[in-house]
Amino acid sequence: MPSARTKPGATRARLIFGDLWEFDPAPETADPKLRPRYDLFIGGRFVRPRSGRHFDSINPANERKLAEIALAGPADVDAAYRAATGAFRSWSALPGRERGKYLFRIARLLQDRAREFAVAETLDGGKPIKESRDFDVPMAAAHFFYHAGWADKLEYVAPGRSVAPLGVVGQVIPWNFPLLMLAWKLAPALAMGNCVVLKPAETTSITALKLAEILQDAGLPPGVVNFVTGAGETGAAVMGHPAAAKVAFTGSTEVGKAIMRQLAGTDRRMTMELGGKAANIVFDDAPIDQAVEGIVNGIYFNQGHVCCAGSRLLVHEPVAEQVVSKLKNRIRVLRVGDPLDKNTDLGAINSRAQLATIRRLVAAGVREGATLFQPPCQLPEKGFYFPPTLFTHVTQSHRIAQEEIFGPVLSVLTFRTVDEAIEKANNTPYGLSAGVWTEKGSRILRMSAELKAGVVWANTFNKFDPSSPFGGYKESGFGREGGRHGLLDYARIS
């Protein structure tokens, strides 16, 4: 360890954990119980796609094929909506108490198979096993459990008014938290008495189809939930289907806008959970070590594939040098590699296409004059990987300060006053989340009031709970997921 007597300012030899000896591999070995081929889940059964086509789902960690996934065409989407429409009358007429029991069952069955699902999620999407194991899967189960309890309490959600389900809801979810986003979408819709047609992202369909097995085991009436798999065209068919009473979308702002245009002229209800470019703001009185952990968690969690990632670090000038130096030290010990290894901090980038996007934007950062920092790290030869990346000398006009990168890339900017921090934080078309680090409570509350973002984390980051509403301001979308607020977005109030 460095000597305590080292003179201030002197460069010290720093011993980095893992430098002198290699970590032994610590692979998670639970069986993900994958099928070689997955069909569509319509009307409570797995059915072959009418398109007759399947596509490969690969493991982004090594580019090996995991399973074949059915490609749903318009006829399949039609069949899914027919099944959902057929199931709606009896499902919505069930007493809430009984609907809730199905959701409780789903939560419990998912908890039973948590490790199996975690491994499947990591294989399919590339996220570190410690995240799928400790976050994605338990949080998905928690969402089902939480909303199960609402099903018989709906009269409390809108006091003095009555609530009713909307009908069939079309839902399209992204690839960054496949099972969790599915739970966020399904649980409130079902608790309220709606039926669902859902399309997972084409690179990450497997856990949805595994969940279909749980829906069968739970005895959920056929047609209440239907999964159609495929890419953008299938998604457009789900969003545009005339039988949908509401559509809920989580994904990029670009696609969200396209859906809004597609549905203009209909009276379809919508929930949009879109992109973000969150500011993580560190004041000079912040607990610096805690803040550094929060910054790292804010941007490198799930390889930065997080719509609410703290991708812009705004740091108070008096502590900027200190924070950046501590950050670089912290980033040096992040472990990048095999997502199934329990020690891995950053797993694989979800797809080749996403890796190309990240590379393109990082190149733009360098070209526009920002200073790049990447720790030396050995990336696996096969698979899609990107090292944790930090840019200093970033200005507000740089693309890396404006555009959502959706990768492990942090842009560092500085500020001198509270007003300047607010101004810079809000200087974005997005408004999903923000972080504030300061020991001063009154400043946290002022910042919370001034930041135009749907979620503000104070002295913490990337925290989620089924009871806590999540969603954006401005071009980050509208509607909320979680809490009684999210539930209301699936209700007709009269």
Binding site: G149, W150, D152, K153, R443, R446, P466, S467, R484
Partner: protein, 286 residues
């Protein structure tokens, strides 16, 4: 040769353990057929005080559990009850309930537990609030459990009544000392056995059996019981109110002639009555 069955010694469930009354007193109960069934502990004031101590000890840990965790524990308890409902229904029938009524009561009791399991992580969003004060302050009101709550269950329905009263009180983080039906005490003994095999920590629910006339006065005056929830007649109500005045104890009575089987017997109200409200002011600025 006919095998002679083993009869069970009924014991009350206090502090996570099965005990006899400290007084070693019992009272005899017989089944509806008049045949001797067993000797039930005739708990004393001292037993009640011991139970309050156990509940007070369990209180902080239970209150600190996350609402989600409390919800899952209540749900787990429902799982235990559903699986052993045959045994509970049998015990109700043995003491005079009609089979159909007992079975229905059992279903309602399990569903009611699940109802309150669901409330554990929801009532705060409905009872708590952010208050729009005129000054630059963030002002919000949150709930906290009261502490140890005394419950005096109705004689009938013995099990559904008891469970309907316990569930809301523990869902919001209180711990309980409950006096079971005097006329049909045995189902509460069985319930204790199921509580012990659920994930509920010992001491969160303590179940006493005995005579109301001996125990109601202590429920009324015990200063560490922060609230009493009672199915009581007019005389007992007066006694409870009188005693409660000494330590400004909260008292909630069950309606006269409640419909224990209906949905009116459950909801947010019973939770609201057993939480304190705490309002917090914090400046906004700089």
């Amino acid at each position: 040769m006919k095998r002679l069955p083993i009869t069970k010694t009924p014991k009350v469930y206090i502090g996570g353990a099965f005990v006899r009354s400290e007084s070693a007193r019992t009272f005899k109960v017989s089944g509806a057929d008049g045949a001797f069934f067993g000797n039930i502990p005739q708990c004393t004031r001292k037993d009640l005080r011991n139970a309050v101590e156990a509940a007070a000890k369990a209180g902080p840990g239970w209150a600190k559990r996350s609402p989600y965790n409390r919800a899952q524990i209540l749900y787990r308890l429902a799982e235990m009850l559903e699986a052993r409902s045959g045994e509970l229904v049998g015990s109700l029938v043995r003491f005079g309930a009609r089979e159909a009524d007992a079975a229905r009561g059992m279903s309602v009791a399990v569903d009611r537990l699940i109802h309150y399991a669901g409330w554990a992580d929801k009532y705060e969003q409905l009872i708590g609030s952010v208050n729009p004060v005129a000054s630059p302050h963030f002002n919000f009101t949150v709930t906290e459990p009261m502490g140890v709550v005394g419950i005096i269950a109705p004689d009938s329905p013995p099990l559904l009544g008891l469970l309907s009263m316990i569930a809301p009180v523990i869902a919001c983080g209180n711990t309980v000392v409950a006096l079971a039906s005097e006329k049909v005490p045995y189902p509460s003994i069985l319930l204790g056995e199921m509580l012990a095999t659920s994930d509920l920590p010992g001491g969160v629910v303590n179940l006493l059996t005995g005579f109301r006339r001996e125990l109601v006065p202590t429920f009324a005056t015990h200063a560490h019981l922060r609230a009493v929830y009672a199915a009581a007649d007019a005389g007992e109500r007066r006694a409870l109110r009188m005693g409660a005045a000494e330590s400004v104890k909260r008292v909630r009575f069950v309606d006269t002639a409640p419909d224990w089987f209906g949905e009116s017997a459950q909801g947010l109200g019973a939770i609201r009555d057993f939480v304190e409200l705490k309002t917090i002011w914090h400046p906004i600025g700089s």
